[in-house]
C-alpha cells in the first residue's frame, strides 16, 4: 500500500531519471531479485566455475576440483558426438520453429476472419492442446504411433494396403525425430497462435480500411500494414521458440523412454542431462551448457540490441 502511493507520487513528479537510488523500487524489486540471485544466479556461477575444472564423480564425493582452464571446452569441441548432437538439435529446432511460426501465424490470421462461434471453437481447441503437459502429450503421441496397436499403423495399413503392424516409428532416428517434431510443433502452436492473435487484434481497423481503399490486396495489406504493427511480438515469440526448441528436453527424454535408441536421438538438452546427471561429469556438462548459451546469445544478439535501443 505504502509502495503504491509512493509509486503514484513519482509518476506525478515525473522526473526523467532519478539521481539517487530510490528506496521504494528497490524494496519492490528485492523479493524477486533475492529469489533469482539464490536459485538461478548462484547455480549459474557454479556451472561456469565447474566448466573450468576437472569435476567428476570423485569431486562430487568430496575430492578437491582441479583447475584445468579450457580443458573441458577442448574436450567437448573435439568430440564428434558433441557435433552430431548439436547438428541434430539445430536441424530439429529449425524445422520446428519454421513450422510453428508459419502455422501459428496462419491460424492467428484465420482467427481474425472467423465468426464469433468458430473463433471460440478454435481458441478452446488451442487452449486444450496448450493445457496438455509435455510429458502427457508425448505419452499420448507415443501411443498413437505405437508399434503394435497404434492408430497410425492401422491408418497406414488401411491407406496403402501393405501391412504396417509391427512397424516401429521410434527405432529409426529419422522417423523418431519426425514424431518428436509433430509433438513439439503441436505443443507450441497454441502459445504462438494465441499471442499473435492477441497482437493482430491491436491493429486499428481504420488503417486497414484506408489501405484497402487505396487498392492494396490482402497480402500487401498484411505485409505493409499489419506486420509492422505486430513485428515486435513476432520477434519475441520467434526468439522464445528458438530458445525453447533448441534446448527441448521433456519430449525427447520421454520419447526415448517409450522407444528409440538414445545415442542416435540425443538432443543437446538431453545430452547435457546425461553428461551431468547420469555420468556425473559436471565439468564437461557445464562446458556444453556454456557453449549452448553462447550459441543462443549469438542467435538473439540482434534482438537484444534492438530491445536495448527501443528502451531508451
Amino acid at each position: 500500500m505504502l509502495a503504491t502511493s509512493d509509486a503514484l507520487a513519482t509518476t506525478e513528479v515525473d522526473t526523467p531519471r532519478s539521481r539517487r537510488p530510490q528506496l521504494t523500487p528497490m524494496l519492490l524489486l528485492a523479493p524477486a531479485f533475492i529469489m533469482l540471485a539464490i536459485f538461478i544466479g548462484w547455480p549459474v556461477v557454479q556451472m561456469i566455475v565447474m566448466s573450468f575444472q576437472e569435476y567428476g564423480r570423485a569431486q562430487i564425493f568430496g575430492a578437491d576440483p582441479e583447475f584445468i582452464a579450457l580443458g573441458n571446452y577442448t574436450k567437448v569441441l573435439t568430440d564428434p558426438t558433441f557435433w552430431a548432437v548439436l547438428g541434430r538439435s539445430v536441424a530439429l529446432a529449425a524445422v520446428c520453429v519454421v513450422a510453428t511460426m508459419v502455422l501459428g501465424m496462419a491460424i492467428a490470421v484465420m482467427m481474425t476472419k472467423l465468426g464469433k462461434v468458430m473463433r471460440t471453437v478454435v481458441s478452446v481447441g488451442l487452449l486444450l492442446a496448450w493445457a496438455m503437459p509435455a510429458l502427457t502429450a508425448t505419452i499420448v503421441w507415443g501411443w498413437i504411433f505405437d508399434t503394435s496397436y497404434g492408430l497410425v499403423n492401422w491408418l497406414m495399413t488401411k491407406l496403402t494396403g501393405d501391412n504396417w503392424f509391427g512397424h516401429s516409428w521410434l527405432i529409426d532416428p529419422l522417423s523418431f525425430f519426425g514424431v518428436a517434431a509433430i509433438i513439439i510443433i503441436w505443443g507450441a502452436i497454441p502459445f504462438v497462435a494465441l499471442s499473435l492473435y492477441a497482437g493482430l487484434t491491436q491493429v486499428p481497423s481504420e488503417v486497414l480500411e484506408a489501405a484497402s481503399l487505396d487498392g492494396a490486396n490482402g497480402w500487401r495489406r498484411f505485409v505493409n500494414v499489419t506486420f509492422p504493427y505486430i513485428r515486435s511480438i513476432v520477434i519475441v515469440v520467434l526468439i522464445l521458440q528458438i530458445i525453447w526448441d533448441l534446448r527441448v528436453f521433456a519430449q525427447i527424454y520421454a520419447l526415448q523412454t517409450i522407444g528409440g535408441i538414445r545415442e542416435q536421438t540425443n538432443t543437446i538438452g538431453v545430452y547435457i542431462y546425461t553428461e551431468s546427471m547420469a555420468s556425473g561429469r559436471l565439468g564437461t556438462g557445464g562446458a556444453i551448457s556454456v557453449i549452448l548459451v553462447a550459441i543462443l546469445l549469438a542467435i538473439s544478439a540482434y534482438y537484444i540490441r534492438l530491445t536495448l535501443r527501443n528502451e531508451d
Partner: protein, 276 residues
Amino acid sequence: MKGSLLSRSLLNVAAVIVFVCSVFPVYWMVNTSMLPGAKIKSTTPSFLPESLNFANYATALGDGFIPAMWMSLAVTGLTLVTALVFAFMAALALSRFTFRSRKSLIVAVLVIQMVPAEALIISMFRLLDGWHLVNTVLGLSAVYIAMVLPFTIWTLRGFVQGVPADLEEAAQIDGCSKAGAFWRITFPLLAPGLVSTGIFAFIQAWNEFVFALVIMTREESQTLPIWLRSFLQATKATDWSVVMAGSTLMALPVVIFFLIVQGRMTSSMTSGAVKG
C-alpha cells in the same frame, strides 16, 4: 471485411481442421482411458468408447494418484501465488519508476531462458540439501518460483505499462486517495494480465518434470509428472489404457483451471472497460 460464400466456408473448414488437429490427441487419450484392458490389443481401433468404463481410472487412482495430486497442488499453488506477488511488485517498480535496470532486466529474462536447466540441477540440489529443503514443498516451489519469475515479471511489466497513469490521476481528482485510485482503477485493468501470467506460472509448475524428478526423491513427495512416469516404467508391458487414465487425471485440473480463468478473464476485462 466482406467475403464470398465460398471463401467463408473454406475458412470455416480450415477452422474445423485446426480444431480437430488440436483436440484429437486429447480425445484419443480420454477415449483410450475408457477401453477395457483386453480391448486395447485389437488391430482395429475403437473410435468411440462403447460404454463409460472407469475401471482404468480406479486402477490409476488406487496407485498413488491422490498423494501425488496433493503434492502437485501444494507446489503449484505456492509457486503461483508467490511468483505473482513478487513479479507484480517487481513489474510495478520497473514500469512506474524510472531507473536504469529496466534494460538489464529485459536482457536478463532472455538470458535466463537460455541457460539449460539440466545443467543447474546438481547445484540447486546441493543448495536445497544444505537447507534441508530436499523433498519439501517449499524447496521445489522455491526453484519453480525462481524459474517462472523472469517471464512473469516481463509479461506483467507490459501490462502495467499498458495502463495509463492518467486514469489514476483522474480518479484522484474525483476524490480517491492515491492508494484507492490504484486499487479501484489500475488493479482491475491489470487483472487480465495477472490471469494470463498466472496461466503461464501454473502450467510451468504443474507440468515440470526434471527438477521434480531430482529434488523429490522420496516416493511420498512425488508430484504428478513423476507419478505418471513411474507408472510407465513399473508396468513392464505398458498398460496403455491405465496410463491414459492417469494422463487424463493429470490434465483434468489444468483444464478446469483454464475454464475458471477464461470466465474471469472476460468478466474482468468488461468490468475494466466499464470503469475506464
